[in-house]
Subunit: 227 residues, 2 copies
Amino acid sequence: MRQLYSLCGENGVSYSPHVWKVIMALHHKQLDFTISPVDFSTISKIEGGAFSSVPVLRDGDRVMGDSFDICEYLEQAYPEAPSLFEGDGGRRMARFFESYCMSMLHPPLSVIVALDMYNVMGESDQKYFREKREGRFGVSLETLAGRGAAERVVLNERLAPLRDLLTNQPWICGDKQLFPDYIVFGTLQWCWIVGARDLLAENDPVRIWFSRCQDLFGGVAREVGAT
Amino acid sequence: MRQLYSLCGENGVSYSPHVWKVIMALHHKQLDFTISPVDFSTISKIEGGAFSSVPVLRDGDRVMGDSFDICEYLEQAYPEAPSLFEGDGGRRMARFFESYCMSMLHPPLSVIVALDMYNVMGESDQKYFREKREGRFGVSLETLAGRGAAERVVLNERLAPLRDLLTNQPWICGDKQLFPDYIVFGTLQWCWIVGARDLLAENDPVRIWFSRCQDLFGGVAREVGAT
């Protein structure tokens, strides 16, 4: 049985965007797995201490980190299962979606959901997270949360390329979903899980697509975050 | 011989971003072609009047518009030549690069280069373009140009996903260029041709990559714009 190490809230629910990419990719590949919850203080103990972030996947004798590397491994190791990239061009182009999410969407989202993230964590993670975030932004988490409204404007503007695309097609990759759909999904699922569920207007094509992603694989991504 | 209808300046040089995508794709596919220059007033006369924009490509009996459609056609019609997409996944994912350029980069660039574009046009195009742009923005082209400095800040921020990507790899598609490289290249080449050559800092990975694109195919994209 495959084992996916995942950062989880106090309720045991995965909230890391990078873990969610791999959860969706494993389902896409029709592969069984169990989730091993970790928190910030136990990441360094995963598999003897070789990793400083999650996801980490154990598949038999293989242990690896980094969501993109893991998904490239899954594509190669399970070629008979539905493809995540549909060819070498897809594997090459998928990197840009990652870069877009990290440089355009994560900065405003990190402000918008900082306090929400804090609220789902266990006590020792809360202490660690507050120190780290307050050090990075130079203000308290509560002050940071007050900047959320302005960052929502930035976020909405930066979603324009997805919004335009999804006005014309049901998935980011056309008439079916591939790994880039899961890359962007992971980013928004992170926010949805911690409680930011009103980031997008109801008729926003990005929200409609997000809901379509949550319907995949028996609705696993929605079910796990049901309150 | 293939014939590519292209919007050209008074000096006969192509400046349309969408035409440049197809010029680069035709070279990538190692296909001969000639450029038939048109201006705004003659677009409606191309091939009997079926088109309202360029590029338009005639290849034997086939005539078609839209840069993306043209490149999908080239990929299908010339499968033995170097691939533009490297598989169906690449063809699917390439749409997002188009959407990113159109919604994130073109809006600030349309302000930054409006007056530069005007200056390369013939007299009748100048009249048409001034009317259209001034109608769209509600100010004179000269006033619009005054907003260029602010829009450069916006542009630079929105180039972050490309900048991050190109810090780690030579091409947008990894260790070789595919159609998405030409999509983004077309956008920046449009500005370079009309004279906006200082949009990016000299050590910006995006500028270094742009120069790498201009070196392709015997330096055709640089040579044609030599002043």
